[in-house]
Symmetry: C2
Subunit: 344 residues, 2 copies
């Protein structure tokens, strides 16, 4: 038995395939009664839309390309692990649609740029989701120039308005800084992502403004930019803790770098809470298992990821990008009091 097509239904009902096609897509050109007949026949024979036919005819691909920047296989570092949850969240958001997530793993920014150009020009997908946005992101410009639907995980600063989802990094840093200052800290280190990333810039600016508000000096020695691996967290603690005026608090941009910071503490014999404290942004709720558990700003990654999926669907349906912009505020989870130890 062959797989049933609209032709099967046409024969079954005595209608033409055109009518069947229209009926199935709820065209107003077909009467409700006729549609009912078609639907009945369709379910009876177990009809399922063959996407290949649609794709050839309409050029639609029913693919959403998810661009995933992951370090190459030689890089044995704990990095980008949040992608797993990100991807599954997106995938679930598309579950009831005909769209599928098509994965494009790239090694770096340049490659992502090339891949996106290809997807856009050869129309290998109907929509694109990217992350790791830069302040002025050429990929965004490529997609906007081609009027190609996309959503970014992360904001941009100099690009024209586009659909995005991101954590509210500015607010988060302000709250985190105010809280630490209030608890007596005067030397606060910021472990930031790579400096060309948009959210790195946002965080740094919020950090500087928070220092101003608190009347504290800005010291570049307390700022680090890099790939957010454990190694990055560790090395910066090793360096900064040797400063004559070492930081008493570290704000880590993710849980991987926070874990590395702990490793640095261990190496230097620093005790969390006594010598310094670590706060972190956490997507995976893993810092609760650190020893000791630390204070985090927790944004369950399922939230932004399902939004990304929902937004790309709406964007592909033509909704304007301005309506699809969300900043999510992470939840403060206080696991330590984080007060400056006066007898340090």
């Amino acid at each position: 038995m062959q797989r049933p097509t609209i032709k099967t239904i046409a024969q079954e009902t005595g209608l033409s395939i055109a009518t069947v096609s229209k009926a199935l897509k709820h065209s107003p050109q077909v009467r409700p009664e006729t549609r009912a007949i078609v639907i009945e026949a369709a379910t009876r024979v177990g009809y399922e839309l063959n996407l290949h036919g649609v794709q050839l005819r309409t050029g639609k691909t029913y693919q959403v390309a998810a661009i995933m920047t992951a370090p190459g296989p030689k890089q044995n570092e704990w990095e980008g692990v949040e992608y797993a949850q990100l991807l599954s969240g997106i995938s679930w958001a598309l579950e009831d649609s005909p769209y599928r997530v098509s994965l494009y793993a790239v090694r770096n920014f340049e490659e992502s740029q090339a891949v996106i150009k290809q997807i856009v020009s050869l129309k290998k997908a109907d929509g694109i989701i990217i992350s790791g946005t830069r302040a002025d992101d050429p990929r965004i410009r490529t997609m906007q120039a081609a009027d190609f639907p996309f959503v970014t995980y992360g904001t941009s600063i100099h690009n024209a308005p586009h659909a995005y989802v991101d954590a509210d990094n500015e607010q988060m840093i302000r709250v985190a800084m105010a809280r630490l200052v209030e608890r007596g800290h005067r030397r606060i280190a910021l472990l930031n992502p790579l400096s060309d990333l948009s959210y790195g810039i946002t965080r740094l600016e919020a950090y500087r403004r928070s220092l101003e508000v608190a009347g504290l000096p800005y010291d570049p020695a307390l700022i680090a930019h890099g790939r957010l691996t454990p190694a990055f967290g560790r090395e910066n603690v090793l360096t900064m803790s040797e400063l004559s005026n070492a930081p008493t608090a570290y704000i880590c941009a993710n849980e991987a770098s926070a874990l590395g910071a702990f490793s640095g503490f261990h190496e230097r014999g620093l005790v969390h809470g006594r010598d310094a404290v670590i706060n972190a942004t956490d997507d995976l709720n893993v810092s609760q298992y650190f020893a000791p558990p630390i204070t985090t700003y927790y944004l369950p990654i399922s939230e932004p990821s399902s939004l990304l999926g929902a937004y790309i669907l709406r964007r592909m349906e033509g909704e304007p990008p301005e309506a699809l912009q969300t900043l999510l505020m992470p939840n403060l989870i206080e696991r330590c009091d984080d007060r400056l130890n006066p007898n340090r």
Copy 2:
């Protein structure tokens, strides 16, 4: 300007589209000279094969379905993070082929079963990659019955031969057990994955045989099965450490449960190396950042993942599954001496 098709090339060369099509796929029916003309014209006009046409005509999808079992969005646990690297490894292995990775995120085993049935019967992909195999896995039977190409990450025990890639769990446990016994340990806990998973069974059997070899008794109280989250590791340390005859070593099946075990140590005031030790299987090279770093059996996940990609390609080309079976031995990385502390 429209995207060029074989029709464009036909006009350009004065040949028929049939000849062009055959020339492009190196059919012996077309003369080398003619083929050269076609190839030249194709590159000149910038021709790219339109997959939609092929798909409709041949039924091929050029999709490899990767089934990813991830906990639902409500589950805020660090689980399945290795999927990110697994997926990127697969994606890279397919890079030079026309195949793409199509992601299917599912919440549990039953759902993965349903999804696979659908992919197979509606031919939504040309090949499937699954993980989390069971001793007797119904999904494998489904795919085998339909003669559908697939590769599993993980072995099965009662199924007919199929293509797989896995860590050599048996060997790993034997080595790990022998090493701990040699270092004086007599009470060794095994934190194992869910008991229906094939590799859980393999590990348990290797564990029991190792005990026999060492002349040690088997105590069910030292065995735990569960989802390999940090919570799982933590809770089992909390429980087992209260036993009258508590374990002096814990073997954790992944780094997430090892991190959780550390959290349990911290809670109970246990000191690693003094009261007990933790060994783990590590895919992500993250245990080096634990405090202290622990001994692990490290298998960089890039190895199995690129093999999975390579194998599914070969399987789709018709290579017999028996030729596509690999067990990879993790590397022992000794970061502690792990000797039993006599003054415990």
